[in-house]
Protein backbone atom coordinates (compact mmCIF):
# COMPACT_ATOMS: atom_id res chain seq x y z
CA UNK A 1 0.00 0.00 0.00
CA UNK A 2 2.40 2.67 -1.20
CA UNK A 3 -0.48 5.13 -1.50
CA UNK A 4 -1.33 5.02 2.20
CA UNK A 5 0.50 8.35 2.47
CA UNK A 6 -2.36 9.97 0.56
CA UNK A 7 -4.81 8.64 3.13
CA UNK A 8 -2.76 10.22 5.91
CA UNK A 9 -2.43 13.45 3.93
CA UNK A 10 -6.22 13.52 3.51
CA UNK A 11 -6.68 13.14 7.27
CA UNK A 12 -4.17 15.94 7.88
CA UNK A 13 -5.79 18.27 5.33
CA UNK A 14 -9.26 17.64 6.78
CA UNK A 15 -8.04 18.45 10.29
CA UNK A 16 -6.41 21.68 9.06
CA UNK A 17 -9.57 22.79 7.21
CA UNK A 18 -11.73 21.90 10.22
CA UNK A 19 -9.54 23.68 12.76
CA UNK A 20 -9.27 26.91 10.78
CA UNK A 21 -13.07 26.78 10.22
CA UNK A 22 -12.61 26.68 6.43
CA UNK A 23 -15.51 24.22 6.18
CA UNK A 24 -18.04 26.38 8.00
CA UNK A 25 -21.03 27.71 6.10
CA UNK A 26 -20.80 30.96 8.11
CA UNK A 27 -17.17 31.57 7.14
CA UNK A 28 -17.98 31.42 3.43
CA UNK A 29 -21.08 33.56 3.85
CA UNK A 30 -18.95 36.13 5.63
CA UNK A 31 -16.27 35.92 2.91
CA UNK A 32 -18.71 36.56 0.05
CA UNK A 33 -20.20 39.47 2.05
CA UNK A 34 -16.65 40.84 2.49
CA UNK A 35 -17.28 41.18 6.21
CA UNK A 36 -14.24 39.36 7.49
CA UNK A 37 -10.58 38.92 6.66
CA UNK A 38 -10.45 35.35 7.96
CA UNK A 39 -10.99 33.33 4.74
CA UNK A 40 -9.08 35.83 2.60
CA UNK A 41 -6.17 35.47 5.00
CA UNK A 42 -6.28 31.68 4.78
CA UNK A 43 -6.61 31.44 0.98
CA UNK A 44 -4.22 34.36 0.40
CA UNK A 45 -1.66 32.85 2.77
CA UNK A 46 -1.96 29.47 1.07
CA UNK A 47 -1.43 31.05 -2.35
CA UNK A 48 1.62 33.08 -1.28
CA UNK A 49 3.37 30.15 0.40
CA UNK A 50 2.41 27.85 -2.50
CA UNK A 51 3.83 30.35 -5.02
CA UNK A 52 7.21 30.11 -3.26
CA UNK A 53 6.95 26.30 -3.33
CA UNK A 54 6.09 26.44 -7.06
CA UNK A 55 9.28 28.41 -7.71
CA UNK A 56 11.30 25.72 -5.93
CA UNK A 57 9.60 23.11 -8.12
CA UNK A 58 10.23 25.14 -11.27
CA UNK A 59 13.92 25.67 -10.57
CA UNK A 60 14.13 21.93 -9.72
CA UNK A 61 15.50 22.68 -6.26
CA UNK A 62 12.84 20.26 -5.11
CA UNK A 63 11.95 17.14 -7.10
CA UNK A 64 9.29 14.58 -6.38
CA UNK A 65 9.73 11.37 -4.44
CA UNK A 66 10.83 9.55 -7.62
CA UNK A 67 13.34 12.25 -8.59
CA UNK A 68 11.17 13.72 -11.36
CA UNK A 69 10.65 17.40 -12.04
CA UNK A 70 7.38 18.69 -10.57
CA UNK A 71 5.18 20.63 -13.01
CA UNK A 72 1.58 21.48 -12.17
CA UNK A 73 -0.87 20.50 -14.90
CA UNK A 74 -1.75 23.31 -17.28
CA UNK A 75 -5.38 24.34 -16.84
CA UNK A 76 -7.64 24.34 -19.89
CA UNK A 77 -7.87 27.78 -21.44
CA UNK A 78 -11.09 29.55 -22.41
CA UNK A 79 -12.94 32.58 -21.11
CA UNK A 80 -16.45 31.12 -21.17
CA UNK A 81 -15.44 27.80 -19.62
CA UNK A 82 -13.63 29.35 -16.69
CA UNK A 83 -15.96 32.29 -16.03
CA UNK A 84 -19.29 30.49 -16.54
CA UNK A 85 -18.13 27.25 -14.92
CA UNK A 86 -16.64 29.26 -12.08
CA UNK A 87 -19.89 31.17 -11.59
CA UNK A 88 -21.91 27.94 -11.35
CA UNK A 89 -19.46 26.60 -8.80
CA UNK A 90 -19.61 29.88 -6.85
CA UNK A 91 -23.41 29.72 -6.72
CA UNK A 92 -23.36 26.24 -5.23
CA UNK A 93 -20.53 27.13 -2.89
CA UNK A 94 -22.19 30.33 -1.67
CA UNK A 95 -25.56 28.73 -0.97
CA UNK A 96 -24.43 25.42 0.57
CA UNK A 97 -21.11 26.55 2.03
CA UNK A 98 -19.43 23.47 0.58
CA UNK A 99 -16.68 23.17 -2.00
CA UNK A 100 -14.97 20.14 -3.46
CA UNK A 101 -12.64 19.09 -0.64
CA UNK A 102 -14.74 20.36 2.29
CA UNK A 103 -17.82 18.42 1.14
CA UNK A 104 -15.97 15.21 2.05
CA UNK A 105 -14.78 16.70 5.35
CA UNK A 106 -18.35 17.77 6.17
CA UNK A 107 -19.39 14.11 5.70
CA UNK A 108 -17.52 13.54 8.98
CA UNK A 109 -19.55 16.29 10.69
CA UNK A 110 -23.03 16.22 9.19
CA UNK A 111 -23.14 13.12 7.03
CA UNK A 112 -26.66 13.31 5.65
CA UNK A 113 -26.73 16.89 4.31
CA UNK A 114 -23.17 16.44 3.01
CA UNK A 115 -24.23 13.24 1.25
CA UNK A 116 -27.09 15.10 -0.47
CA UNK A 117 -24.67 17.81 -1.65
CA UNK A 118 -22.23 15.13 -2.84
CA UNK A 119 -24.99 13.30 -4.69
CA UNK A 120 -25.90 16.60 -6.36
CA UNK A 121 -22.25 17.16 -7.28
CA UNK A 122 -22.07 13.74 -8.93
CA UNK A 123 -25.27 14.48 -10.87
CA UNK A 124 -23.75 17.83 -11.93
CA UNK A 125 -20.56 16.09 -13.02
CA UNK A 126 -22.59 13.56 -14.98
CA UNK A 127 -24.51 16.37 -16.71
CA UNK A 128 -21.20 17.99 -17.62
CA UNK A 129 -19.89 14.69 -18.99
CA UNK A 130 -22.98 14.28 -21.15
CA UNK A 131 -22.98 17.79 -22.62
CA UNK A 132 -19.28 18.70 -22.48
CA UNK A 133 -18.72 18.41 -26.23
CA UNK A 134 -21.56 20.84 -26.95
CA UNK A 135 -20.49 23.53 -24.50
CA UNK A 136 -18.61 26.64 -25.63
CA UNK A 137 -15.03 26.92 -24.51
Amino acid sequence: MKNIKFLLLGIFFAIVLSKVQAISWYRFYEMFRFESFHMFGIIGGAVVVSAIIMQLFKSEKIKDINGNKITPKQKQKGYIRTLVGGTFFGLGWGVSGACAAPVFVILGFKWLPALIILLGALIGTLIYGLVSKKLPN
Binding site: F6, L7, L9, I11, F12, F13, A14, I15, V16, L17, S18, K19, V20, Y26, F28, Y29, M31, F32, S36, G45, A46, V47, V48, V49, S50, I53, I65, N68, P72, K75, T82, L83, G85, T87, F88, F89, G90, L91, G92, W93, V95, A98, C99, A100, F104, V105, L107, G108, K110, L112, I117, G120, A121, I123, G124, T125, I127, G129, S132, L135
Partner: protein
Amino acid sequence: MDFILEPWAWYVGGPLIALTLFLYFYFGQNFGASTNFETLCTMVGAGKVSDYFKKDWKERDFAMLFVIGLIIGGFISSNFLIPNQTIDLNPKTIQELTDLGFTNVSNQYFPDEIFSNEAIFSLKGFLILILSGVCIGFGTRYAGGCTSGHAITGLSSFQLPSLLAVIGFFIGGIIAVWFIIPILF
Protein backbone atom coordinates in the same frame (compact mmCIF):
# COMPACT_ATOMS: atom_id res chain seq x y z
CA MET B 1 -3.23 20.15 24.30
CA ASP B 2 -4.87 23.57 24.50
CA PHE B 3 -3.53 24.52 21.08
CA ILE B 4 -5.04 21.41 19.51
CA LEU B 5 -8.51 22.04 20.92
CA GLU B 6 -8.75 25.77 20.35
CA PRO B 7 -9.63 27.27 16.95
CA TRP B 8 -6.55 27.91 14.79
CA ALA B 9 -5.84 31.42 13.54
CA TRP B 10 -6.05 32.25 9.84
CA TYR B 11 -2.27 32.60 9.54
CA VAL B 12 -1.84 28.97 10.60
CA GLY B 13 -4.23 27.80 7.89
CA GLY B 14 -2.51 29.18 4.79
CA PRO B 15 0.92 27.61 5.39
CA LEU B 16 -0.61 24.25 6.42
CA ILE B 17 -2.75 24.17 3.27
CA ALA B 18 0.42 24.99 1.29
CA LEU B 19 2.18 22.13 3.11
CA THR B 20 -0.59 19.79 1.95
CA LEU B 21 -0.14 21.03 -1.63
CA PHE B 22 3.62 20.56 -1.32
CA LEU B 23 3.33 16.96 -0.10
CA TYR B 24 0.70 16.12 -2.74
CA PHE B 25 3.07 17.23 -5.50
CA TYR B 26 6.10 15.74 -3.74
CA PHE B 27 4.30 12.38 -3.70
CA GLY B 28 4.07 12.75 -7.49
CA GLN B 29 0.49 13.93 -8.06
CA ASN B 30 -1.29 17.12 -9.09
CA PHE B 31 -3.11 18.82 -6.18
CA GLY B 32 -6.86 19.31 -6.60
CA ALA B 33 -10.12 17.95 -5.26
CA SER B 34 -12.87 18.22 -7.86
CA THR B 35 -11.53 15.60 -10.31
CA ASN B 36 -12.63 13.16 -7.62
CA PHE B 37 -16.26 13.81 -8.58
CA GLU B 38 -15.39 12.46 -12.03
CA THR B 39 -13.60 9.46 -10.59
CA LEU B 40 -16.57 8.66 -8.35
CA CYS B 41 -18.88 8.89 -11.38
CA THR B 42 -16.60 6.49 -13.25
CA MET B 43 -16.61 4.08 -10.30
CA VAL B 44 -20.40 3.91 -10.20
CA GLY B 45 -20.55 3.13 -13.91
CA ALA B 46 -21.06 6.50 -15.63
CA GLY B 47 -18.88 5.16 -18.49
CA LYS B 48 -22.01 3.35 -19.71
CA VAL B 49 -23.78 6.61 -20.50
CA SER B 50 -20.89 8.80 -21.61
CA ASP B 51 -17.43 8.19 -23.03
CA TYR B 52 -16.28 11.12 -20.91
CA PHE B 53 -16.25 8.74 -17.93
CA LYS B 54 -14.57 5.81 -19.69
CA LYS B 55 -11.39 5.95 -17.70
CA ASP B 56 -9.51 3.57 -15.50
CA TRP B 57 -10.35 4.78 -11.99
CA LYS B 58 -7.62 2.56 -10.55
CA GLU B 59 -5.11 5.07 -11.88
CA ARG B 60 -6.61 7.46 -9.35
CA ASP B 61 -6.67 5.10 -6.39
CA PHE B 62 -4.34 7.49 -4.54
CA ALA B 63 -6.98 10.24 -4.87
CA MET B 64 -9.70 7.96 -3.56
CA LEU B 65 -7.52 7.26 -0.52
CA PHE B 66 -7.09 11.02 -0.09
CA VAL B 67 -10.90 11.38 -0.16
CA ILE B 68 -11.32 8.62 2.42
CA GLY B 69 -8.72 10.45 4.50
CA LEU B 70 -10.77 13.65 4.24
CA ILE B 71 -13.84 11.87 5.60
CA ILE B 72 -11.86 10.23 8.43
CA GLY B 73 -10.19 13.57 9.23
CA GLY B 74 -13.59 15.28 9.34
CA PHE B 75 -14.90 12.59 11.67
CA ILE B 76 -11.88 12.87 13.97
CA SER B 77 -12.15 16.67 14.03
CA SER B 78 -15.86 16.79 14.74
CA ASN B 79 -15.70 14.18 17.50
CA PHE B 80 -12.41 14.87 19.22
CA LEU B 81 -10.75 18.10 18.13
CA ILE B 82 -13.47 20.74 18.22
CA PRO B 83 -15.16 20.73 21.62
CA ASN B 84 -16.62 24.16 20.90
CA GLN B 85 -17.85 25.13 17.43
CA THR B 86 -18.33 28.82 18.27
CA ILE B 87 -17.20 31.07 15.44
CA ASP B 88 -15.95 34.57 15.97
CA LEU B 89 -18.10 36.19 13.28
CA ASN B 90 -18.39 39.87 12.49
CA PRO B 91 -21.31 41.23 14.62
CA LYS B 92 -22.71 42.70 11.41
CA THR B 93 -22.86 39.24 9.83
CA ILE B 94 -24.62 37.86 12.91
CA GLN B 95 -27.17 40.68 12.78
CA GLU B 96 -27.85 40.19 9.05
CA LEU B 97 -28.41 36.47 9.42
CA THR B 98 -30.56 36.96 12.52
CA ASP B 99 -32.68 39.44 10.56
CA LEU B 100 -33.12 36.78 7.86
CA GLY B 101 -34.48 34.45 10.55
CA PHE B 102 -31.37 32.36 11.28
CA THR B 103 -31.12 31.21 14.89
CA ASN B 104 -28.07 30.19 16.92
CA VAL B 105 -25.86 32.11 14.48
CA SER B 106 -22.12 31.49 15.03
CA ASN B 107 -22.67 28.91 17.78
CA GLN B 108 -21.90 26.04 15.40
CA TYR B 109 -20.19 25.43 12.05
CA PHE B 110 -23.35 24.60 10.12
CA PRO B 111 -26.65 26.50 10.40
CA ASP B 112 -29.73 24.48 11.38
CA GLU B 113 -31.69 26.34 8.72
CA ILE B 114 -29.78 24.37 6.03
CA PHE B 115 -28.20 21.35 7.76
CA SER B 116 -30.70 20.16 10.43
CA ASN B 117 -32.85 17.08 9.80
CA GLU B 118 -35.90 19.32 9.85
CA ALA B 119 -34.42 21.37 6.99
CA ILE B 120 -33.18 18.50 4.83
CA PHE B 121 -36.41 16.53 5.10
CA SER B 122 -38.40 19.48 3.76
CA LEU B 123 -38.73 19.81 -0.01
CA LYS B 124 -37.17 23.28 0.02
CA GLY B 125 -34.25 22.21 2.18
CA PHE B 126 -33.57 19.12 0.09
CA LEU B 127 -33.68 21.11 -3.15
CA ILE B 128 -31.30 23.74 -1.72
CA LEU B 129 -28.70 21.08 -0.97
CA ILE B 130 -29.06 18.95 -4.07
CA LEU B 131 -29.17 21.87 -6.51
CA SER B 132 -26.17 23.48 -4.82
CA GLY B 133 -24.42 20.17 -5.33
CA VAL B 134 -25.37 20.08 -9.02
CA CYS B 135 -23.92 23.59 -9.46
CA ILE B 136 -20.75 22.56 -7.63
CA GLY B 137 -20.27 19.41 -9.72
CA PHE B 138 -21.14 20.95 -13.07
CA GLY B 139 -19.29 24.19 -12.34
CA THR B 140 -16.03 22.64 -11.19
CA ARG B 141 -15.87 20.33 -14.17
CA TYR B 142 -16.70 23.04 -16.68
CA ALA B 143 -14.24 25.47 -15.08
CA GLY B 144 -11.64 22.70 -14.69
CA GLY B 145 -11.10 23.00 -10.96
CA CYS B 146 -12.27 24.16 -7.56
CA THR B 147 -10.78 26.09 -4.68
CA SER B 148 -7.84 23.68 -4.39
CA GLY B 149 -7.13 23.20 -8.09
CA HIS B 150 -7.74 26.76 -9.32
CA ALA B 151 -7.56 29.18 -6.38
CA ILE B 152 -4.53 27.55 -4.76
CA THR B 153 -2.64 25.40 -7.28
CA GLY B 154 -3.55 27.49 -10.34
CA LEU B 155 -3.07 30.98 -8.87
CA SER B 156 0.21 30.04 -7.18
CA SER B 157 1.57 28.75 -10.50
CA PHE B 158 0.40 31.97 -12.22
CA GLN B 159 -2.10 30.43 -14.62
CA LEU B 160 -4.53 32.84 -16.30
CA PRO B 161 -7.46 30.35 -16.54
CA SER B 162 -7.33 30.00 -12.76
CA LEU B 163 -7.59 33.75 -12.24
CA LEU B 164 -10.66 33.80 -14.49
CA ALA B 165 -12.15 30.83 -12.67
CA VAL B 166 -11.63 32.50 -9.28
CA ILE B 167 -13.34 35.65 -10.60
CA GLY B 168 -16.21 33.35 -11.61
CA PHE B 169 -16.25 31.75 -8.13
CA PHE B 170 -16.71 35.19 -6.61
CA ILE B 171 -19.39 36.28 -9.11
CA GLY B 172 -21.36 33.15 -8.20
CA GLY B 173 -20.68 33.41 -4.47
CA ILE B 174 -21.65 37.07 -4.34
CA ILE B 175 -24.91 36.39 -6.22
CA ALA B 176 -25.56 33.51 -3.79
CA VAL B 177 -25.15 35.42 -0.53
CA TRP B 178 -26.38 38.88 -1.60
CA PHE B 179 -29.39 37.78 -3.63
CA ILE B 180 -30.26 34.08 -3.39
CA ILE B 181 -29.91 33.56 0.38
CA PRO B 182 -32.17 36.60 1.18
CA ILE B 183 -34.78 35.24 -1.27
CA LEU B 184 -34.63 31.72 0.18
CA PHE B 185 -34.85 32.77 3.86
